[in-house]
Symmetry: C2
Subunit: 382 residues, 2 copies
């Protein structure tokens, strides 16, 4: 099941020893720890122990809260199988590191999150579909399935209950490890089934991860994962080898925020704020792109996914768009293989109403021009 | 030069776009950025922009300070070839990821930093020596050399001027990438040549990294690297794929600390404090280990390296030591191959004088017992 390199993976004896030296009365000559006496007195509000090295799995109080939240979602995630990540991008790197050798078949959606494609490609993944054999017909089936079932990046799609059941059953049946990436679940604007797919698996191997970047703040770089019992300890060792552990100050800040009495209100405010932005964005889309593209209203997440009526390769529009002061993501970048042309991912959470109006007007002009005279456009971009 | 997986390494178009959207007036629909309006109002002292996504290379103000410091050491490290790391462990992972395929010959000291061995093994490194061909005689030479020239972990050794010159020249001559890991350079208790080896290279490829964990605080997980022009951009892309970027709050805190007027005084205080701890430790070592081991007084860093007079495998003593309330690092763990027996790494920075006395007395008793009746000891540890 694992990549070849897992054979070379050994827990660090230092990290193992650090795990026991917190016992009262223990004298440790083991680590390379600074003396607590000379840690900086930075701010009266940061307990000095947060400045010291910490456990690779993350600090206990934050792990406990995450575990409670995941169990409330039906995920089998006791605290000793929860790990704090330096952002959920790290979870993709760790999981790919554990499972992907050159040529390993990995099932992904088309399109899907491009930084996941980047990491999986880096380790040599061969992209395929789940339960149907690889796309090139070479016979074997996916070893790992990377999926964003809830408000997918880039499409915003939310899997139906039947699709979730089917995905869970297929992974159990084929033995594929299910890697469920779930950073957007709290940004929900209309009801839909968001039950984690991993909570529907009976047996099988899985990794589930989430992020504090969307609900709290990305700049602190903090996410989390839980995993099935056969995988978790390997993920911890991979984390040790990658960065020892995540920032303890970030962990404390996030812990205090998500356990504060105002957290639920903050989430509600955030969701209301983003829902309103989505609606403003969609109204502007109708005005500017009504004749140029189709889309579905995303019921959650951060993106509109536009399918242009003309198959323009939107990568060729990006340079000119940026020249004119508007950035977007060409949808073609999100494809694991040869992309269908004429798609754009537009984020609606960041820009205010005036910028949305101006930005979409500019993009629509570009798209309309490209549709009618592709040759001149390509030429102008060199 | 690079590992096979670098062929699959592509910069994320999102990160490339994020690099230009800071321009005034730019409307961005590109990233998945939260609205600045709904970022949490955490503490009046944290500017909201630190809570947003940031550049993979790190924040400009911290990179500038690091660049100045490295250039003052003679390293060719302009600010655009300086990257902030989530701790220097991350630099080892990124560098190994870029260079090590299964079987790639990597030169290391014996003994050397065990978490570097862990990472290099994970990517499949075959350990060898520099400039003398691999230890198994299969013919080719090291592609990468991992070295801690200044107050090495675990031995505390500091390379002489001649050794530094020789290492630099050998890397240039053989084409091996020099990876100089330099976390301890500021913890210097007696004068010695600490000129970075990479500053002595004329041509060649190199990575130099340092850490804020020893001089500031490990819990924030922050380090930095600089690299030669041929390597730097690959390291940035690998960083993107690993965790997008490091905590911006940690970066700001460290920036403010190391540019504050009191920083030089703090370093001087730290060095004096650790020098005194080293001397207390050595006095206790003489009392308890004078007949059992030999060592050299470390001129910097955090460790004593003990060579026992009897070749006891100290890994067999660790369980009993922890039972009796003392942790240490068996020196055998630091070997890339079959270790010489009878070595211990003892950290002197963390424990106070009373704990040092009690801890070393306990360890000496164990070592003396093991030296005289090895069979019973092995049996007792199962």
């Amino acid at each position: 099941m694992f990549s070849q390199r897992v054979e070379g993976l050994r827990p660090s004896p230092i990290r193992s020893i650090l795990a026991v030296i917190d016992r009262p009365g223990m004298v440790s000559f083991a680590g390379g720890l600074p003396a607590t006496d000379v840690l900086p007195a930075w701010s009266g509000t940061v307990p000095p122990e947060l400045l010291q090295y910490g456990p690779s799995e993350g600090d206990g109080d934050l792990r406990s809260v995450v575990s409670e939240n995941l169990r409330a979602l039906g995920i089998d995630a006791p605290v000793d199988r929860v790990m704090i990540l330096s952002g959920s991008q790290q979870g993709i790197d760790l999981t790919a590191k554990l499972f992907v050798d050159p040529g390993t078949p990995v099932a992904v959606d088309d399109p899907t999150y491009l930084a996941a494609l980047q990491v999986l490609r880096f380790y040599g993944a061969r992209f395929t579909h789940l339960g149907t054999g690889p796309t090139d017909g070479s016979g074997d089936d996916a070893r790992l399935a990377y999926v964003v079932p809830t408000f997918a990046n880039p499409t915003g799609a939310c899997m139906t209950t039947a699709e979730r059941d089917n995905l869970a059953q297929t992974c159990v049946r084929t033995g594929a490890v299910l890697f469920e990436d779930d950073p957007y679940r709290d940004l929900v604007y209309e009801p839909c089934d968001r039950t984690p797919v991993v909570s529907r698996m009976r047996g099988g191997s899985w990794v589930y991860q989430g992020s504090f970047s969307k609900t709290f703040a990305p700049g602190l770089r903090l996410g989390f994962l839980a995993a099935s019992d056969d995988l978790f300890r390997h993920l911890v060792v991979a984390k040790q080898a990658t960065d020892l552990h995540s920032s303890r100050l970030s962990q404390r800040i996030v812990h205090d925020a998500i356990t504060a009495p105002g957290w639920t209100d903050r989430l509600a405010h955030l969701v209301g704020f983003y829902r309103a932005r989505r609606d403003v964005f969609e109204a502007a889309l109708r005005r500017h792109f009504g004749d140029l593209a189709s889309w579905e209203t995303p019921r959650g997440g951060l993106f509109f996914w536009l399918r242009l009526r003309q198959p323009v390769d939107t990568r060729t529009l990006l340079g000119e768009a940026i020249e004119r002061g508007v950035a977007f993501m060409p949808g073609e970048e999100f494809s694991p293989g040869t992309p269908a042309l004429g798609t754009m991912r537009l984020n609606f959470s960041h820009a205010g109403a005036d910028d949305v109006e101006r930005g979409l007007a500019t993009l629509a002009t570009l798209v309309a021009g490209a549709s009618t005279s592709p040759s001149s456009l390509y030429a102008s971009l060199g």
